[in-house]
Structure formats: C-alpha cells, structure tokens
C-alpha cells in the first residue's frame, strides 16, 4: 500500500516537472514573447475622432493578400487628428508603433480620392465591389498613404500594409 502511494507521488512530481519546464519563450526588446506563430496579418482597422468616437461607417475592408486595409469614414470627418487602432493576429506586433498615450496621427495623406459608380454603396456601407476595385488599382494609392509593418509572432515574417481612408458621400 505504502509503496503504491510513494510511486504515485513520485510519478506526479515528475509529471509536474515536465510541464513546468516545457518551453521558455524568449522576450523581445519590447518585453513581448517571441512565439512559434508565423501568421502575419491585420484583422481590423479602426479610426477614432478627437472625441474618441469612431468615424468609421460599416466594417473596414482588409485584403491580407494585397496587404491593404481600407477604412470607410463619415462624410466631413477631419483626418488630421485621428487615433488609429489596428488589430493584429495573435502574438504579432506593429511597427512603427501607435502610441498608447496621445496617439493622434495625421491620416489625411491616406485619403483616397475615387469616383463612385452604381452599386458602390449599399445602405450607407461600402460594398465589396468598391473595395475590390480599390485594391485592384494600387497605382491610384496616394503616395503619402500611411504604411505600417506587421511582424509575426516568431518575428521572422514581416508584411507591410497600406492603410487607406475613403470618405463616404454625404448621407
């Protein structure tokens, strides 16, 4: 009886040991874990006005193949002082960083002038037809458009995204 208990105790201790010392992820210069993940993409793009309310209409369009993120914003929003928020895949990080305090950024350079055609807007939101047309024509992207690079969790994959802003016609 006693032997069995001892065996069990030793076995569980060994088990604990193996769990505890599994993997020690290294930490990068920002104090973030460098993990195994190689995924590298933007999952959402949000812009806040000076009143910390969103200026977006509908969802942002993100093309992870063309590496383009498009935010559709309300007619008349001033883009000189907006606070961008970019969501990334797990463990990834963004460079250059967006400040966590006073992250006001001038996005007026990202504003894409485009002529709208029938079917571009549905119930106030941009349709995929419009988004796909924008992405298909990279030569029309403004040269001053904001660009941020996504770095994957293992820090080995880097992808530069172009961030565009399209103003909705007056509703």
């Amino acid at each position: 009886m006693k032997k069995t208990v001892n065996k069990l105790a030793i076995f569980s201790l060994l088990l604990l040991c193996s769990v505890a010392c599994s993997k020690d992820f290294p930490v990068d210069e920002d104090g973030l874990l460098i993990t195994d993940r190689a995924e590298c993409y933007v999952s959402n793009f949000e812009l806040l006005d000076t009143d910390h309310q969103t200026i977006r209409v509908g969802n942002s369009y993100i093309d992870t193949v063309a590496q383009v993120a498009i935010a559709y914003v309300r007619f008349g929003t001033s883009l000189t002082d907006v606070w961008p928020q970019v969501s990334l895949v797990e463990d990834a990080k963004l460079t250059p960083k967006i400040a966590t305090y006073n992250g006001w950024t001038d996005f007026s350079g990202s504003k894409l002038p485009i002529d709208f055609i029938e079917g571009d807007w549905s119930a106030g939101n941009a349709t995929d037809q419009l988004s796909e047309r924008i992405v298909a024509n990279p030569s029309a992207f403004p040269t001053a458009a904001k660009r941020y690079t996504v770095v994957s969790g293992n820090r080995k994959v880097q992808k530069e995204y172009v961030f565009l802003v399209v103003e909705r016609p007056m509703q």
Partner: protein, 332 residues
C-alpha cells in the same frame, strides 16, 4: 441540593441589585455652558466658484436653554457679495420622509457692504441658518473668506471663520438656444456673458456685428452633418447651403469632444468639473475649423482666432429645431 441552588440564585440576585443602582448618568465630554457655533460649506468643495453663482453655507448656533436665546447672527465677507446675497430666515429639520421642513426663526436678513445680518424673531436657543453668497464680479480670480458670528441674549457671542475660497476666472452662460435659420451666430467676446447669440435679425439691423462672430451654427438634414459649427475658414464642401454673413472672418479653432459632462453646464447632473486649469492646459494643436454631427452631451473646445479666449461648449439638447448649449469661457 435544591435548597443550596436557591441560596445561590438569591445571592446573585442581591449582588445584581447592589450593582444595578450604582451611578447617575454621566455626560460624555464637557457639558455645554456657553454659546457654540459650527459651519459647513454646502456647495461642493471641488466645484469651481463662478461669478454670478452662489456659495451656500449652513451656519449652526446653539446655547443651553437656561442661559437664554439667540438674538442675532451675521456674516462678514472679505469681498461684498453680489445682489441676492442673503441669510435664509428659516431653520430646517428633516422629516421622516427625508424632506427638509422649514421653520421660520428670524426676520429678513439685511446686507450692507460685506456684512449680512439677521435678527432672530422666534424665541429659540438653537438654529441652523443657510447663507447664500452670490459671487460678485469684483471677486474674479481672487480669494474670498467669511467670518460668521452669533450673539445671544445673555451677552455671549461666538465666531467661526470659513475660507479662503478661490474664485474662478472663467464665466459661464447656460441654456442658450441655437436655431439654424435665425439664432445661429455665436460670439465669445461679450464682456459679461460667456457666449452671446446673435440672430440674423440682429445682424441685418447692425451689420458691424459680423466682426464679433466666432462661430456659425447650422442644422442640416444630412445625418453626416446634422448639427454643425463652422469657423470662417471651414471648407465649403462641408457646409452645404450655409451662407456666411459678409464680414465674418474669425478663424476659430475647435476640438470635438464627447462625454465631457460638466456638472455646472449640464444643470447639476454628473460630477465632473471644467476648471480654469483645464482651459490653461488644453492643447489646441489638434484643432479643426469645423465640427459636424454634434449630438446631446457632446462638446467642443473653442479658441478664438486671436487666442484671447478659450471656451467649452456643452450641448444640453440637440433636436430637430436646433440645439441648446451651455458655455464656460476663460480669458487667456
């Protein structure tokens, strides 16, 4: 055995009797033998003291009944209060349902200079009077302090000092109505009011007023614009159908806010306060020359073109006909 038990019980009973009727009642602390007073400031301590608004105090005084009754009370303010400074002649108690019930104890108060005095008319040995000090223009940016005092019929008197309290530099004007087709011109340059609204009729009568205008209000049926404020250099694309009056040239700076709910501007809701310091430290670098889609409880920081005034506009109400705004203004 039974007998023994009875003896014990009897013994204990006797013991309790002996202890029970020991001492007379004793007062905790010293007995009150003279006229006493106390005072609290009822206005919130963190609230900025604004010109034209009141500071409320509750002044309590009492003496033992056998010594006499209260005859008079007075308060001396270091800066004479504005019109409407007075002692409430009622003493209040709170009834079972939590309401304040007034009991008239004094005649109307008299104010001359910085002194407000009141004579007791009821035969009372204890009262709490409320004192309302209207902050005068002379106190702007200064400190004001108060000396409360009370006299009793036995010749005793007592005194209580309050303050000093800092009086704000800023002005406040509440509940101004803006309408798109008439009352649509806002000026922050008035001498006594934080903001003045000029109507189109005013401007027709006196076109020179156009140079006093800092912002133009417009209401648009479009949801993207709805309630908007424009400076003279606002882009034309964002102000459809809005015609600026000739002579309006103020390049006013604005920063849109939401949810900055000042207690004084929002008619005593919420518990935030915008104080002089906020106007001094706000960074106007991220300003624009127009703000669109304003709604209830939104606000706008404003700096006039010559940077001589900063203001905060709070939107109390925004409906289909126009908006109601309240404004705090600070002279830089």
């Amino acid at each position: 055995m039974k007998l023994k038990n009875r003896y014990v019980v009897l013994l204990f009973a006797l013991g309790f009797l002996g202890m029970g009727c020991n001492d007379d009642m004793v007062l905790i602390g010293d007995p009150v033998t003279a006229l006493n007073n106390d005072c609290i400031k009822r206005s919130l301590p963190v609230a900025p003291n604004l010109i034209g608004q009141e500071i409320e105090f509750a002044y309590a005084m009492a003496l033992p009944e056998e010594l006499g009754n209260l005859t008079s009370a007075q308060v001396v303010a270091s800066i004479p209060g504005g019109a409407g400074t007075y002692f409430d002649p009622n003493s209040y108690y709170t009834n079972a349902s939590g309401e304040d019930v007034a009991v008239l104890v004094a005649s109307e108060s008299q104010t001359s200079g910085g002194t407000t005095s009141i004579q007791f008319s009821a035969d009372t040995c204890a009262a709490t009077l409320r004192f309302y000090y209207i902050i005068p223009e002379e106190a702007r940016g200064k400190e004001v302090s108060f000396v409360f005092s009370v006299k009793a019929s036995n010749g005793q008197s007592a005194e209580y000092k309050m303050g000093p309290y800092k009086i704000s530099e800023m002005d406040m004007t509440r509940s101004l109505l803006l309408t798109s087709d008439e009352q649509c011109y806002i000026s922050f340059r008035g001498s006594s009011e934080a903001a003045v609204i000029y109507s189109k009729t005013d401007l027709d009568a006196d076109p020179s007023l156009a140079s006093q205008i800092d912002l133009v209000y417009a209401r648009h049926s479009s949801a993207d614009i709805s309630h908007a404020l424009y400076a003279a250099d606002a882009p034309e694309a964002y102000r459809p159908d809005v015609v600026f009056p000739s002579g309006f040239s103020s390049q006013t700076k604005m920063i849109k806010e939401y949810g900055l709910r000042d207690r004084q501007l929002s008619d005593l809701q919420y518990s935030h306060f915008i104080d002089d310091l906020d106007f001094e430290t706000i960074n106007m670098d991220r300003s624009t020359n127009y703000v669109l889609a304003l709604k209830e409880e939104a606000g706008v920081w404003v700096e006039t073109a010559d940077a001589s005034y900063r203001a905060f506009i709070f939107i109390n109400n925004a409906g289909s006909s126009g908006m109601t705004i309240s404004v705090k203004r600070y002279k830089m």
